[in-house]
């Protein structure tokens, strides 16, 4: 009974809160959002204790869900006709046909539990409710600033918060559904929220990008329905657990391949990468939510869910190849990007690729690597988006070339942002623990797939290091004209959200042993023996060991020693070397011909014209389509 209430709270509370905010005034926003966030976070922790239960809601609710599903499709149809968008109309009609056929020909419930929370779900619930709630808190501060420049007659924030919170509820439902039809229902709601949130600002570009996100999401919906249909036809069941546990057959593999395609659409894997890149036109909380804790994780979740069922098949390598190729490709394209959110978006797609790669490789080590990456990536990426949003609002520029010397202008936000960047690619943090394990996964695979995967992974990792490092360098370029570091004012909503995520990330990284032993293990245990032997100082696998705490100790010692040396040796700060042509009192100018004073600037490194989005993306999409066809083709073999 207790668990049933908890799961209902996780799904319904955010939706209710969203509906309240739709009617209530501005003043109620924090009164509603803060407690909701808190309750959701606590619920997700409580659900960890309750995991392993299953529940079938009242038949009335099931009928309501069916009805809502049809309404949703009707709405998509309306959107399609309203915007005269053929793909949306076509894909919605296919779904409507499949759903209708299904309901009128004796499909439906067969007595298996509808909701089920196991280890995997509870990890996802933690990520969704912690990071997602913090993003909602951040949005309270952000949306006011956002609307200041827009001169709106009426605030559009009520509908914004409705869809933001609805997305949380839908994600909670998605990861705890066992009935594939319910899973599909929540899946479609996330598509809806994504569409509404991306087009929130109502500009033409926002509308176009939202429609693209919608039709790509609908492709996923069709694939998922296809998988459901095949699963039901083959085994006469709607239970995800039954599908996964039953003895494999070619027909079932086709269902899993379709699920993989659905997952690729949600997780923006090649060739579906463009919707997530387009999503950056939306206000920052949307990006933060889509990229870190919700939307994209739905796809990853699905792969993690069915992966154990395809163990030892070629399908494993097919899906892994899509993931690892996406990782390599996006890392290279990210090198050429100037917009902060574009870099972050490419990095997200790449990391999801890595997670999907790990998830589908199907060993104990790979499964845990996927989960580690999933959790730490959510924290780091959430943090980065939140900081990027604050900085963008201050500077009115998302071009990182304009972010030069930001550490002196916005020390707190930039400081947090720098730690966020460091947490993505340096070994003090959990993301690199996951990557380290992923390298082990690639190298211990059978030799011929292994060679391809290793090469792609090494190329991808090097490019990743490069694009983060050059961004990091840009942020802390110091002398600038306003050399004195001024304290900045950070609103309470920003402080709560960013500092909490930062704290979570650091604590979880330091306690990686604990995380592996007590969190990751609960999702791994049903399928594999845990491959890790976590110790206080180092985490060991059969392949090696990774040390986070000793590195933090080394870092502390280095900081201390550096501080002491600086203190003891001192040293005046002098202008940079400019071949003797410095201008007195102006650190960023030099004397040119006839003593003209000229400002100099150092630009970033973007590898034009060798790497550009325009040149690379068509090829990436093409290879992505081919790899997706291979995934489907592998079923036949």
């Amino acid at each position: 009974m207790n668990s049933e209430i908890l799961i209902s709270v996780a799904v319904i509370l955010p939706i209710l809160a969203g509906l309240i905010l739709l009617i209530a005034g501005k003043g109620y926003r924090k009164v509603v959002v803060l407690p909701t966030a808190l309750i959701l976070a606590v619920t997700s922790i409580l659900l960890m204790e309750e995991r392993g239960f299953s529940w079938t809601p009242d038949p009335v609710i099931q009928t309501v869900v069916m009805g809502l599903d049809l309404l949703l499709l009707l709405y998509f149809l309306y959107v399609g006709f309203h915007n005269e968008n053929v793909p949306v109309i076509g894909l919605t009609l296919i779904q409507a046909l499949l759903v209708g056929y299904f309901e009128f020909t004796g499909g439906g419930h067969h007595g298996e539990p509808i909701m089920m929370v196991d280890g995997l779900s509870s990890i996802l619930l933690l990520v969704i409710n912690f990071i997602g709630s913090l993003v909602c808190i951040y949005a309270i501060g952000y949306m006011d600033e956002h609307e200041e420049h827009l001169d709106l007659e009426r605030s559009r924030q009520p509908r914004f918060f409705l869809f933001l919170l609805l997305l949380l509820g839908a994600m909670n439902g998605l990861v705890s559904s066992n009935d594939v039809f319910w899973l599909y229902f929540f899946w479609e709601i996330t598509t809806l929220c994504c569409y509404e949130l991306i087009r929130h600002d109502g500009t033409e570009i926002a509308n176009n990008n939202a429609l693209r996100a919608l039709w790509m999401g609908l492709v996923g919906g069709v694939a998922l329905l296809g998988a459901i249909y095949i699963g039901n036809y083959a085994l006469n069941t709607l239970s995800l657990a039954t599908l996964i546990e039953s003895s494999p057959s070619p027909l079932l593999y086709l269902a899993f391949a379709l699920m993989a395609i659905a997952a690729f659409t949600k997780s923006a894997q090649l060739p579906f990468q463009s919707w997530l890149l387009g999503a950056m036109v939306a206000p920052t909380p949307v990006s933060a939510l889509l990229h870190s804790s919700t939307m994209v994780n739905a796809g990853v979740y699905l792969v993690l869910r069915f992966a154990p069922a395809i163990q030892g098949t070629l399908l494993t390598y097919g899906i892994a190849l899509v993931g690892i190729f996406t990782f390599m490709f996006t890392a290279i394209v990210a090198l050429s990007q100037r917009f902060s959110k574009a870099i972050l978006a490419y990095s997200t797609i790449g990391n999801l690729g890595l997670i999907i790669f790990c998830a589908s490789m199907n060993t104990s080590l790979s499964y845990s690597a996927a989960l580690i990456l999933l959790m730490f990536h959510a924290m780091s990426k959430g943090l980065l988006f939140l900081c990027a949003g604050i900085i963008e609002n201050r500077l009115h520029s998302r071009n990182i070339e304009d972010w030069e010397g930001l550490l002196a202008k916005l020390p707190i936000t930039t400081g947090v942002m720098i730690i966020g960047i460091v947490s993505m690619f340096l070994p003090m943090f959990g993301v690199l623990l996951g990557k380290w394990a992923a390298v082990g996964v690639a190298s211990s695979a059978p030799v011929f797939p292994s060679i391809v995967m290793i090469t792609m992974m090494v190329i991808g990792s090097s490019a990743t290091t490069l694009f983060w490092a050059k961004w990091l360098g840009k942020l802390i370029i110091l002398p600038i004209r306003e050399h004195r570091i001024k304290m900045e004012k950070v609103s309470i909503w920003y402080s709560i959200s960013t500092l909490t995520i930062l704290g979570l990330d650091i604590v979880a990284s330091l306690g990686a042993s604990y995380m592996v032993q007590h969190v990751v293990s609960i999702a791994v245990a049903p399928h594999y023996e845990l491959a890790w032997s976590p110790g206080l100082l180092k985490l060991s696998t059969q392949l090696g060991s990774f040390m986070i705490i000793p590195l933090w100790i080394a870092m502390a010692a280095i900081l201390f020693a550096g501080f002491l040396i600086h203190r003891y040796k001192g040293g005046n700060i002098v202008p940079a070397y400019l071949a003797g042509e410095n201008v007195e009192g102006d650190p960023i100018a030099f004397r040119s011909t006839a003593d003209t004073v000229v400002d100099y600037r150092v630009s970033g490194m973007f590898f034009d014209p060798d790497i550009t989005e325009g040149k690379w993306n068509p090829w990436g999409t093409l290879v992505g389509i081919l790899l997706n066809l291979i995934v489907l083709g592998l079923v036949i073999i």
Binding site: V447, I454, V458, L478, G544, M547, H566, Y577, L578, A579
Partner: protein, 290 residues
């Protein structure tokens, strides 16, 4: 607790303490050999130590207040990597620690808004992009052979790695040349200040910060040579002979070739280096099947 100190442990500790000084000697020897190749007498072998002490005592100037900590970070993380290596830890993790050190140097170079130093930092980044993948690929090949990323595993493995991975050993030549900042791949600032007036990535360091960077460089040299010596871990004398052979070739190359562009560096390491290691990998796999 002294009784629990086994001989292995004592050797490791001694190695950690000696390594930076050994690096200084090797750099001194390098300068001597280079001088002889150019028909000069050259400085005494311990000249680098004199230089270091002199640098340390110079009047301090900074380009920004982050410089001392970042310079310390460069030396400190290389030293951390060395400690991990001495205690035979995970090869991949050791390489990641090295990356951390390099990032400190690069960020320190970016940090002072000097066009020269920025250019140097950028090129250092490209150097890192050139040699690090080769190290990671080698570490992965080692894992495939020995079954573990732990350095310990290489020592416990019966056959010297050189016999199984000769091509990967050859690829280390590229790593070493780039890492020692020797021509033709010294794009970020040459190891010897013999080709340029403004020394790329090091431009904005002076006095004690430069001394720290120099100390880091010595340590890194010993560190990389130690990694190469693992190709014959069963007898480390042979291992070091192998490492010093590559070191000597790097010095010869330095005296023969002019500097090439960063693109040619990247192309050579990514095409030739990748091919050498991957070909070795495939050959090993085929050999195992047979």
């Amino acid at each position: 607790m002294v009784s629990t100190l086994n001989p292995d442990m004592a050797i490791s500790v001694a190695y950690i303490i000696v390594a930076p000084f050994l690096g200084g000697l090797i750099v001194g020897l390098d300068r001597k050999i280079t001088a002889r190749m150019q028909n000069r007498i050259g400085p005494p072998i311990i000249q680098p130590f004199y230089d270091l002490i002199k640098l340390w005592g110079k009047e301090p100037f900074l380009a920004s207040s982050f410089q001392p900590i970042l310079a310390m970070g460069y030396f400190g993380f290389i030293f951390t990597g060395l400690i991990l290596l001495a205690f035979r830890q995970d090869l991949l993790h050791i390489i990641f620690t090295l990356t951390l050190a390099d990032i400190c140097l690069i960020v320190a170079a970016y940090n002072s808004k000097s066009p020269y130093s920025n250019l140097g930092g950028r090129r250092e980044l490209l150097s890192m992009l050139s040699y690090e993948p080769l190290m990671v690929l080698t570490a992965i090949s080692v894992q495939v052979v020995t079954g573990t990323f732990l350095v310990k595993g290489i020592f416990e493995y019966g056959t010297p790695l050189l016999l199984l991975m000769p091509a990967a050993y050859v690829a280390q030549q590229l790593v070493l040349i780039i890492d020692m900042k020797k021509s033709p791949y010294d794009v970020a600032g040459s190891g010897h200040a013999h080709q340029e007036l403004v020394r790329g990535v090091y431009t904005e360091f002076s006095g004690y910060t430069l001394a720290l960077i120099e100390l880091g460089h010595w340590t890194k040299l010993v560190f990389i040579l130690s990694l190469i010596s693992l190709f014959w871990a069963q007898n480390l004398i042979i291992g070091w002979a192998l490492a010093l052979l590559l070191w000597f070739i790097a010095i010869v190359a330095d005296n023969i070739y002019p500097r090439l562009t960063w693109k040619s560096m990247l192309r050579t390491s990514w095409v030739l280096g990748f091919m050498l290691i991957l070909a070795n990998f495939i050959a090993l796999a085929i050999w195992r099947v047979i």
